[in-house]
Point group: C2
Chain length 483, copies 2
């Protein structure tokens, strides 16, 4: 059923007359997805402007347009700390975090452009994987969102490693902020074989360099909000700070980038990105926020549950799935939870409803020109054993009789270690976390039970061994491809 | 004049009968440079072996072959701390440091294979640059070396980014150690334009990943000796340690990778390499030594001065030249020394005669499997102003009347800063440094004066501005290409 989004952020069904009106109005927008022409917008004028200051002025000019339409579809007030109608490009906006973020920001009045080459879907095809939840095509997603919300999301199918194409999109959309999710984001994928290790580092590092060059060339005031990972830090035996650490050594003191120890070619690609971005903030005075994100869980946000066509992905396979997602699926289908090794591996976690809010907070309070700002983006830390206990406890409440077993760890990682990572900066900006223990059923287990007929248990087995990565193609052993 | 190398390392002219004999014996070797077939060797048998232990055995077997030839050309005893005849692959062996190292090791009984795609020479062609000293082709270099020394250096023209080709070379040569100089090594080159920034990071990072995969797959006992740079550390306000720093923080202590702050896309590429190698030593138990090298100066080594065909390059242009090389050329031709900005930029330096010795020390005392060993490879530290003073002083002795001027700094870097970098590990292994103040005439100024008719002053100007790097082709403003 189509719904509308109220100022409160809650979704309610549209009245029939509203629905028809919205469909008519969005028809122009949903017909032009490609790169060749940029769709006109329903809510935002597209003035020629450059720089943050001009962008703010353009937001003011577009208010009149919004007002005309507000009798049919209420314009959603901006929940953040600054004025809305910022132009936000979301690279990787068809992916798990990117899609939720695009909807979240669109619902709150930001002008959103998704830039995505849709290669995440290709990974699944090539490896025989599938999301638990049946996701619509990117094109149908933005079409449905337009119908439901009256908000237009621009969709550009574009590979950011192709600078000519990306530059064209960037110049056309004129973003005030770029949120960069558009990287290969699986550690096991990067360890399948040499070709995928190389692909991951090339795709991620070069793509990010291109984004930095586009900002430098076309709008140096544009704020880069880059998704990093808590995995960049590894598991040091001291507290993990947010990006930088003050070191006193031989009687002198300096605040330096926190030492990095990525444990896969994927994690390392984000380490490389962080170093490159830090340099660009110094050499070119770019404004950048590096969000070192923890493990994200949860299917639902206010927007993704508005219609089945908007549903987000739920990856539970051995390549893209997390331990938490795997456990939830195993609990739903009556399979013992498979803990890798001793289970003491501890990481930061957050609900996807907090991911989208964190990104918004970063956009609303941008880094200064020349500033390399790092936030640790997670809300709670758990060991694998902790996660197994929570799933066990919540499963028991539903009578699922959850068992736990240990399997050999396919990764090379510390299985018992100190872990204490700071994460106060986003909370200081206003983040109010959702907590896993209270939300497991709502955020994950409910979906696992609803879609459990779609579960392919072959996908859950460990698919990639860190020790055996080689130049030979690894797809035969990765996930279902081995069958 | 052809020379021979004595056990002492000094070069003396060959007797005529020796010379003829050597030429006859090396004729087979110099005919096959390409990838398609591997040349037979004069001094080393090529037994089927894998792993360090087997390689040592094969070295024993080849002694008989050497003994036959030792009446014509004495086999140079190995100066290091362990047995000789190690099989050493030198990636980038046609470059400035690589060529000197290849000769140094070959002269001392190591079986040497140069792997190089010769792209360094292409950079010069494309940008209109040239080395002060006229260098011979790679093919003529190894041919002449064979004639003079009776030692065969294998030359494989191969791009390590082409894993299929590189893997074939690696499997054929079966190195016990790989010395990896094979990267784009100029900071200004990496800042010419977007394409060269991308090229530098792709070429360096992916090439190094390929080297790691080849070692892992074909001989995990092979010792990776990787050339990093002191520039990886940037200019922190605390002492720079050798690779790692022990940090006590909130009551806990850990020894972590030293924080990195590269100040160009080139320096950052080496930062990325270091992180990737560190990971490979943990995940795959590779044995790796990262040589964070300072600024290398000097043209001569014992071997490169043996014949004009063996002469090494001397880069003084704005892209590949160092401030020291530029100053020496300026002194030779009566141009004021051009100090970038305030001249307080302080870096580590070493004579190329120490570079080759450092690499040998690293090979002779290899890292253990699983060890990521980092040496800071320099012997003295100077500011740009210090360097100008030394050139001024030494130039005065020759009546050169050296002037100094300041020009706007095209780089983004601290021009006045604390700098104290440790460099004791190589000296603990036996390095006895050459010092710049005592050797400037012999190592550099003599060559500058000898070849000053070849100087093109247009090449000396600052050619690349860090602040203006863009996606537009930068070759029009780089060095002579702008004329």
């Amino acid at each position: 059923m189509a719904t509308q989004i109220l100022a409160s952020g809650a979704l309610q069904p549209l009245q029939k007359s509203q629905h028809l009106e919205v469909k008519r109005q969005t028809s122009r927008a949903v017909l032009n997805y490609g790169r060749s022409s940029l769709p006109s917008r329903l809510f935002q004028a597209k003035p020629a402007h450059s720089g943050r200051q001009q962008a703010c002025r353009s937001a003011g000019r577009s208010t009149a347009t919004s007002a005309v339409l507000s009798t049919e579809i209420p314009t959603i007030p901006h929940n953040g700390t600054s004025s809305s109608n910022r132009r936000v490009m979301i690279i990787g906006g068809d992916g798990y975090c990117g899609w939720a973020t695009a909807l979240h920001l669109s619902a709150r009045g930001y002008a959103v452009c998704i830039v995505d080459n849709l290669v995440r879907r290709t990974y699944d095809i090539q490896l025989g994987l599938d999301t638990l939840t049946p996701i619509a095509t990117a094109q149908k997603r933005v079409q449905k969102w337009g119908e439901i919300s009256g908000k237009h999301i621009e969709l550009e199918i574009c590979d950011i490693c192709d600078y000519e194409a990306f530059g064209e999109v960037f110049r056309s959309f004129k973003p005030d902020a770029v949120v960069h999710f558009g990287e290969q984001r699986s550690a096991p994928y990067s360890m399948i074989d040499r070709a995928r290790a190389v692909y991951t580092q090339h795709n991620n590092v070069i793509g990010n360099i291109n984004v930095m060059f586009a900002i430098k060339e076309f709008n140096p005031d544009c704020h880069l909000v880059k998704l990093g990972t808590m995995g960049e830090y590894g598991t040091p035996n001291i507290d993990i700070e947010e990006g930088f650490i003050t070191i006193t050594h031989n009687g002198r003191t300096d605040t330096l980038p926190y030492p990095k120890q990525g444990n896969s070619f994927y994690h390392l690609s984000k380490v490389h990105d962080s170093h490159n971005i830090h340099f660009a903030t110094k050499a070119w005075k770019l404004a950048a926020t590096d969000l070192n994100q923890g493990i994200v869980y949860g299917v639902k946000t206010e927007e993704t549950v508005a219609d089945p066509v908007l549903i987000n992905r739920f990856d539970y396979d051995g390549i893209f799935g997390t331990a938490l997602n795997r456990f939830v699926i195993q609990a739903a289908v009556g399979h013992p939870l498979t803990v890798y090794g001793k289970g003491g591996q501890t990481r930061g976690f957050l609900d996807i409803r907090d991911t989208v809010r964190c990104v918004q907070l970063a956009i609303d309070t941008p880094a200064d020109r020349g500033e390399f700002r790092v936030f640790n983006q997670f809300t709670e830390q758990f060991s694998v054993n902790d996660i197994a206990k929570i799933v066990n406890r919540e499963g028991d409440k539903l009578g699922l009789n959850v068992q736990v077993s240990s399997v050999p760890n396919p990764r090379v990682e510390a299985e018992e270690h100190y872990y204490n990572a700071k994460h106060s900066k986003l909370e200081e900006l206003g983040l109010q976390p959702h907590l896993l223990g209270e939300n497991l059923m709502e955020s994950l287990l409910g979906f696992a039970l609803e879609y459990k007929d779609r579960v392919d248990l072959n996908l859950i087995k460990p698919a990639v061994d860190w020790r055996t990565t080689s130049s030979a193609s690894g797809t035969k052993t990765a996930a279902v491809a081995r069958h």
